[in-house]
């Protein structure tokens, strides 16, 4: 009974946490992208435009959410939630503190990698259900991209698991050694790049390619449903940064106490900013380049890294 109550409590806490990360993420992206483009970001909604995303969200909540009449209505209405729930559940297994994670299961690292993959199905059906050529093209691209980038992402975390000896994220964070940074540098690079692709951002934002498919799979969504897709994207970035900081850098380099927490937050914000920085400085890949990059570059690097990790852990 106690864990059931704790689950519901954590559900509310996670919802608020995800909403906050999305609020911070959107505002932070518009400010960073603005400064990268020699202009200021939002300024007029509250001090330094902090309330800008709040204004956007409130407006989107009360905006009319249109359902196209040719759309497959039940599927159309369900898809935002089918995309949101998997990526939100990824928050549950991130080891926030040393030795503590909201849901400390045995294979929580693999849970974090596998469950957001369900979002690919949601994006595919979202594009298909909106009965729109751009939407279906975006959905098909999303499915192909997410599936093919899961492999390098999983392999890179696998080399971490090999070194740590356990597949639970909390265990990995506990068993973190400082020399892992040197050995697992390529693994982190592969993890970082493939998590950008997993979240459809940066050079890999083909499913929602603005200059080609107008808006990709959520082209026909408006109002609160579209806001959920945006929340999925931004919470996905923060989740990937949180997990990267927690496992690859041992959550603040393993330093106990408030300094460790401070470092942990700093790493997360740094990774989020890097994802924004990469998005706004690189053009978009072509679908065939996207696929060949995943299969011919990232996967071999991750496999070699796995071999190195195996050898090192055997020493």
């Amino acid at each position: 009974m106690r864990s059931y109550l704790f689950g519901v409590l954590w559900g509310f806490a996670a919802a608020i946490l995800i909403a906050l990360t999305a609020l911070f993420g959107v505002w932070w992206e518009r400010k960073v992208a603005g400064r990268m483009q020699m202009r200021f970001g939002p300024q007029q909604a509250g001090p330094a435009g902090v309330l800008q995303t709040l204004a956007d969200t409130v407006k989107l909540v009360v905006k009319e959410d249109i359902t196209p009449n040719l759309a497959d209505v039940p599927v159309f209405k369900l898809m935002p939630y089918l995309v949101f729930v998997p990526s939100a559940s990824a928050f549950a297994v991130i080891p926030f503190a040393n030795g503590w994670a909201p849901f400390n299961t045995e294979a929580s690292a693999l849970f974090f990698l596998a469950v957001p993959g369900m979002g690919a199905l949601g994006m595919l059906l979202a594009g298909w259900a909106s009965h729109n050529t751009y939407g279906s093209l975006g959905g098909v691209r999303a499915a192909a991209q997410l599936v093919s980038y899961e492999l390098p992402r999983t392999l890179s975390v696998l080399s971490l698991v090999v070194l740590a000896g356990t597949t639970s994220a909390v265990g990995i964070r506990g068993a973190w050694q400082w020399w892992w940074i040197v050995v697992l540098a390529p693994a982190f690079a592969v993890y970082f790049i493939s998590s950008i692709a997993e979240v459809n951002r940066g050079p890999f934002d083909l499913p929602e390619a603005e200059s080609e498919l107008v808006a990709g799979y959520f082209v026909d969504y408006s109002g609160i449903r579209w806001a959920i897709f945006m929340m999925v994207e931004y919470s996905g970035i923060v989740a990937a940064s949180l997990f990267g900081a927690a496992t690859f850098l041992g959550g603040g380099l393993g330093i106990p106490g408030p300094l460790g927490v401070l470092l942990f937050v700093a790493f997360t914000v740094a990774f989020t900013t890097m994802m924004i920085w990469v998005k706004w400085s690189f053009p978009r890949l072509r679908p065939d380049q996207l696929m060949s990059f995943a299969w011919k570059v990232l996967t071999p690097v991750a496999l070699v890294q796995l071999l190195v990790a195996g050898v090192v852990s055997a020493l």
Partner: protein
Amino acid sequence: MPDQEFNQELVVNVGPQHPSTHGVGRILLNLDGDIVRKAELIIGHLHRGIEKMAENRTYLQVVPLTDRLDYVGSMYANWAYCRAVEKAAAIDVPERAEYLRVIVCEMQRIASHMMSVGSSGADSGAFTVFVYAFDLRERIVELFEQLCGARLTYSYVRPGGVAFDAPDGWADAVLAEMRKLPTGLEELDKLLFGNVIARGRLKGVGIMSTEQAIAWGATGPVARGSGVALDIRRQDAYSVYPRIGFDVVVGDNGDAYDRARCRLLECFESVRIIEQAITQMPEGPILTDGIPRLIAPPKGDAYARIESARGTLGVYTVSDGGAKPYRVHFRSPAFCNVSLISRLAPSHVLSDLGVILGSLDPVFGEVDR
């Protein structure tokens, strides 16, 4: 035949309102999966009938119409029209006005190329390149504002000369700006063409051979990207261009990368031209006096062409001796270049469509007239 209607091609309408059609062009695509099988260009969404309007206006009143033709570069639209009228009415142009025209049109070429290079970056997804290119363009538009008060539609070049003389200090401001510009252009070069993903997206896309470029009627950077050394400034040697040293930038393998790169390198040439023109510019009148308010050229035809940022911009006027032109026709380079999309797009991926259209650099005011 059952399998006939099974592999039906997906018809996608890249509609008149689309981020990467550079205006109001519409492309009907037949897609087989992601591969473009057939691309049909549908234009005319901005057809205002400027040639019909020109028939009911005096020769001087047509100048503001030419601004709205190629609104990204209205300086050389004015110049082409004024050269045709001067040829028809045998008006000569003072020396200083010729130099001012060359300076202003080369600055307009840089501003127009910044728009084109920036948007070819934005088509391939690098939005920051568009912002940086527009920053360079804003510097030049500011100088235009000091010269003739307008940011986009200047009506600066008039039959027989130019409208305003350069305010004092303007020439030095332009020289100072031209010294700073090459660093901005090199930075843009590194930002877009130095980027490995941008090179991957632009190279080998929309390849057009030299013979095809000539046969299909491509002019300007689109033709020069395929190795056609066609530059009207060199070929006709009009105005004061013979006294100014510059060389024609020619690409070699005719893909979107070469076309965009030719535009950027041409900006370096334009900076050289402007610096030489400002140093050589004499003092003197800027408008031939004695031009009647109602120019009435003798009966007959006249055709004049100049090298605009998009290619050979020609103006053909027929006059019946009256105060209004009997017929004005604009040989629009953007119109000839943009109709290449239906020949270049097939067998490319959908993502390349925006890149190819961007490399042809259409401005639909001039395409649709």
